[in-house]
């Protein structure tokens, strides 16, 4: 179990993620950001809970909806903001944007704009750790949409036959863009697929940080003990649209409202308050601090330099 201090830090990370993506949503609405972004609002407990179970040296792979994973993993919101504004000081020097934020040397192996695209990469990291005899593991985030891509079947099997130290963490946020899981899956739960690959599968409440943490910690232990991969399905929900251009035609306001009632931040903050780890008005205070921190990040990023044009021709080859 995590210490009180660590649990408060987890709350802070969730707040930071929410503030970041709400800010980005606003910036898009104001036309101040180029391109597109996918918002993690509502899913914060998944990234923060799972990443909290990692140890030094572990790595993650992320998705197109990757801001939450990056912040949970400890990436710097200043450099993330700079990347979203396309600045030279961003994580990708302005060449990746929202969907490609990465810090490979730190172990964040990248957000990935291709659904399922990073599942092979996560297995490769697991392969490298195993071959090198390192006590490290890879945590692979993907959504319910990715489970329908062929790569998921291939990588589940490879990781299982070679007992790779990989944790497959599915964020079932109910929709692959607009397609409901109810229309996309002949058989649920998604974690049931694990049986076909000879690995354990578990479905957990993705709006409950502690549940996610517990499942991830157990799966990471299996991975480290040489017992191979685990498939964790976290049942969660994205409050905002798929991306900035989503009119939410495939779901109702009522459905969104119901999920918001299970808000992962309020739930976790409530628990901390019950334990006396969080004072009465502290959540509001932390929340304002998170929004201020993100405002500062974007204000600072706005003043960062644009990349030089010639940098567009660099870094194609090492």
């Amino acid at each position: 179990m995590k210490s009180t201090e660590e649990r408060r830090e987890m709350l802070w990370k969730m707040l930071l993620i929410r503030a970041f993506d709400e800010k980005v949503n606003d910036l898009y609405a104001e036309g101040r950001v180029h391109g597109t972004a996918h918002f993690y609002v509502g899913q914060e407990a998944v990234a923060v809970g799972a990443v909290a179970a990692l140890k030094e040296g572990d790595v993650i792979t992320s998705t197109h909806r990757g801001h939450g994973h990056a912040i949970a993993f400890g990436l710097d919101v200043d450099r993330m903001a700079a990347e979203l504004l396309g600045k030279a000081t961003g994580y990708c020097r302005g060449k990746g944007g929202s969907m490609h934020i990465a810090d490979v040397s730190a172990g964040m192996l990248g957000a990935n704009g291709i659904v399922g695209g990073s599942m092979g990469i996560a297995c490769g990291a697991g392969w490298a750790f195993k071959r090198r005899g390192q006590d490290r593991a890879a945590l692979c985030f993907f959504g319910d949409g990715a489970v329908q891509e062929g790569i998921s079947s291939e990588t589940f099997n490879l990781a299982a036959i070679w007992k790779l130290p990989v944790v497959f963490l599915c964020e079932n946020n109910q929709y692959a863009m607009s397609l409901s899981v109810r229309k996309a899956f002949a058989v649920e739960p998604i974690s049931g697929r694990a049986a076909a690959y000879g690995m354990p599968g578990e479905t957990v409440d993705g709006m409950d940080l502690e549940e996610v943490y517990r499942a991830a910690a157990a799966a990471l232990k299996r991975a480290r003990d040489g017992e191979g991969p685990t498939l964790i399905e976290t049942v969660t929900y994205r409050y905002l649209g798929h991306s900035k251009s989503d009119a939410n035609l495939y779901r109702t306001r009522e459905e969104i409202r119901q999920w918001r009632e299970m808000d992962p931040i309020e739930r976790f903050a409530g628990k901390l308050q019950e334990e006396g780890a969080l004072a009465e008005n502290e959540l509001q205070e932390m929340e304002s601090r998170a929004y201020r921190r993100i405002d500062e990040a974007f204000e600072k990023a706005a003043k960062e330099p644009e990349p030089e044009l010639k940098s567009a021709l660099e870094d194609v080859y090492a």
Binding site: V59, T61, G90, Y91, C92, R93, G94, K95, G96, H100, A102, D103, V104, S105, L109, G110, N112, G113, I114, G117, S118, M119, G120, I121, A122, C123, G124, A125, G126, W127, A128, F129, R131, A138, G150, I151, E154, T155, N157, L158, I161, E314, D315, V316, Y317, A318
Partner: protein
């Protein structure tokens, strides 16, 4: 001087892998039937006995999965060699190669590299029909971030593969099924043939033939036949299709004034179009005294019947005909 050692192209590829694996623990080979079977074309025969199943790894039929895995291992600094059993099957892992391996470095702002080698046998002439005979290499020439290598001799196969394994970028390494038994002199030491450098394999004054892989041998055969008729062809083996060695081609074209590209892929948007285009878009254009020509496969899938297959593929005879047509053409008129 000790007598030079002669081995096959297949043995040369294997020797490069074996020596790289002895030299560097981080190199491994992964693919379908590469272990005890020795690979569909016998290239890795005997390797699993030396290196074990952890380094010569038989995979399920999961090209996307294991090429993705190799991409991730490369991102972590390992040196994977992925074997795609027939180059046609590379379609299964296009996302991993095009959207992942080729893009990671650029889209992450230069903060990562993917030192991955994908070896695969391509080409027709074996009666294997439409799904086991293609030459799809131009697809990868079209993707910035990938390098594409296509050796024609045992010497180059070993040297280019060792260079590819040193290279910090993803390299697609095209072998040819009809070259595996071809013999040539190959030194036993670890030497490299640099990527991106063409070889001038025959000197001549009258016409420049540019080719790669098996087609390089067809070009040389055509050059011999033409020589008997008083035409001296200069032959360039590109060796690497991407990055493309334009300078060597340009130098030769400026000497001969005539360019014929010999390529095994289908003609439309084949890589030979790029060779020609770079000449006509450059100062070398003014050295041309004939329109350039290309000998390529017909724009059809490869048929099974022996005569039909030969009919659609380039052959040395077709190269000879193309050169003669070029020489007979009126100046500046497209042949």
């Amino acid at each position: 001087m000790p007598e030079a050692r002669v081995i096959t192209y297949r043995e040369a590829v294997r020797e490069a892998m074996v020596q790289a694996m002895r030299h560097n623990e981080e190199v491994f080979l992964m693919g379908e039937d590469v272990g005890v079977y020795g690979g569909a074309f016998g290239v890795s025969r005997g390797m699993v006995e030396e290196f074990g199943e952890d380094r010569v790894v038989d995979t399920p039929l999961s090209e996307a999965g294991f090429v993705g895995l190799c991409t991730g291992a490369a991102l972590l600094g390992m040196r994977p060699i992925a074997e795609i059993q027939f180059s046609d099957f590379i379609t299964h892992c296009m996302d991993q190669l095009v959207n992942q391996a080729a893009k990671v470095r650029y889209m992450f702002g230069g903060e990562a590299s993917v030192p991955l080698v994908v070896r695969t046998p391509g080409g027709a002439g074996t009666g294997a029909a439409a799904q086991h005979s293609q030459s799809l290499e131009a697809w990868f020439v079209h993707v910035p971030g990938l390098k594409v290598v296509m050796p024609s001799t045992p010497y180059d196969a070993k040297g280019l593969l060792l260079a590819a394994l040193d290279d910090p970028n993803p390299v697609i390494f095209y072998e040819h099924k009809l070259l595996y038994n071809r013999k040539g002199e190959v030194p036993e030491d670890l030497y490299r043939v640099p990527l991106g450098e063409a070889a001038l394999s025959r000197e001549g004054e009258d016409v420049t033939l540019v080719a790669a892989g098996l087609m390089h041998h067809y070009a040389l055969e055509a050059a011999d036949a033409l020589s008997g008729e008083g035409v001296e062809a200069e032959v360039i083996d590109l060796r690497t299709l991407s990055p493309m060695d334009h300078r060597t081609v340009a130098r030769s074209v400026e000497k001969t004034g005539k360019l014929v590209v010999v390529e095994e892929d289908v003609k439309t948007c084949g890589w030979g179009a790029e060779v020609v285009s770079r000449i006509v878009e450059s100062e070398s254009f003014y050295a041309l005294d004939r329109s350039p020509a290309r000998v390529a496969a017909a724009d059809v899938p490869i048929p099974y019947n022996r005569r039909l297959e030969a009919y659609v593929r380039p052959t040395p005879e077709k190269v000879v005909e193309a050169v003669k047509a070029l020489l007979d053409a009126r100046v500046g008129v497209y042949a």
